[in-house]
Amino acid sequence: MTEVSSDGGPNAQYAKFLAEGRFMIQRGKKSGKAVFYPRAYAPGTGEELEWVEASGKGTVYSTTVVRKKPPTPDYNIALIELEEGPRLTSRVEGVEAADVKIGMAVNAQIIDGEEGPLLVFIPAGD
């Protein structure tokens, strides 16, 4: 039987790591296959998972600019493919929203978002 963790479920555990400034993802204990977002077991197989520090390296898989009426600034929303494999929704900062391009190398950064710590990405540079 699956035991209840005193740290709460995988979502709560992830949030706690993020609050500590750590971007953690999960991987299969046997397969090593990376998983994001946090789950109690690997999707599809049900395999046991363990937490690992993400490399933070990723590539822009797709990107869009949400256009707002001035003076509200436009902003970016991007799908990032992590070096480990999974894809997630985020935004790329430190560059104009329209200059974010598919294929761009990016690095994870945890910032203070409106509702707590937030995972964003910045261009990796050369």
């Binding site: 797709s62 869009t64 949400v66 256009r67 929303i77 799908l79 894809r87 329209a98």
Partner: protein, 381 residues
Amino acid sequence: MTKFPRGKTAIVGAALFGGRGAPGYDPDEIAGIAARDALFDAGLTPADVDGLFVTHSNDAFGGGLQLAQYLGIEPIVADNSRTGGNVFQSYLERAAWLLDAGLINVALITYGSNQASATGKLTSSRKPFAYEAPYKPLNPITSYALAAARHMHEFGTTKEQLGHVAIAARSWAALNPDAANREQLSMDEYMGARIICDPLGKLDCCLVTDGGGAIVMTRMDRAKDLRSKPVSVLGATSRTTHDQIMGMPDLTTTGLAECGKRAFTDAGLGPNDIDVLELYDAFTINTILFLEDLGFCPKGEGGRFVEDGRIAVGGSLPVNTNGGGLSCMHPGMYGLFTIIEAVRQLRGECGDRQVNGAKTALAQGNGGLLSSQAVAIMAVD
């Protein structure tokens, strides 16, 4: 696995209500009126219905029961699924199996929405997703924009090609007295429209309208004795691949690539056999993705396929002959309306926009953020 009951069931009634606006009506009234009219179209009454399949955009707990009570019926199957706008094709699929198995005798599939007159925008009771909501996506458009951007990147699809989808839809709407937007659309006007989420702009998005519809199904042996010309159901399939766009396995291929093939196999037909194609064009990129996934052109060729008016009035493949969600109506969930237009085309009731000699039709449904797909293939003798 048991084979789909090809040709064993039929759509025997269809009706629309309030697509041009139904201020002062609530969703159950809109669906209820369409339901009564579809039943009368078949020569049936509410009391004949023993399978009720209903979804509204803003359903809460107990959804569907209110409509059963409104109709004054006691269904033995009452289904209120919420996979998105594809659910109506999935209902048709389910109803065909249940009818063929003998569990039910008359299925009513219906939808009603007052979103335009009640709120002026798309209504949705979708729960925010913790790993997406903080980035403030303007969904659904943001997710479709991400798919469009990826399609452009991988296959060189252009903004002008998206424009051809919008222009083609408008060319059909111009022939449909029930369509909301009937003015022909030029490429200049399309290219000049305000961008909302790159690369999608205002004219890449479906309309926000009121409207309801209903279809009635029964077994073919009974259908032959009813009032309307039966439209035979040859194949119907569904597939769900993800919920949020971050979970979509491949942003340029939807679940239709699999369930479309299955539906064609069930029907014993291929894309070349389809006379009328009704796709769920919530956004211009949809039409391109779905043409590819259903096998009307190779993957990646959808943009080039729609150039030169191929899917417009006078083109070689009639697509979205009512004007689609882009130019006819889009009351929040559009899947039922692709089925109703297919039925009307197969019955030869479409006036100026009638596709001459249409014998076969495919009506596709899309749900959520390209998440759920479903297909229905129909024919008349």
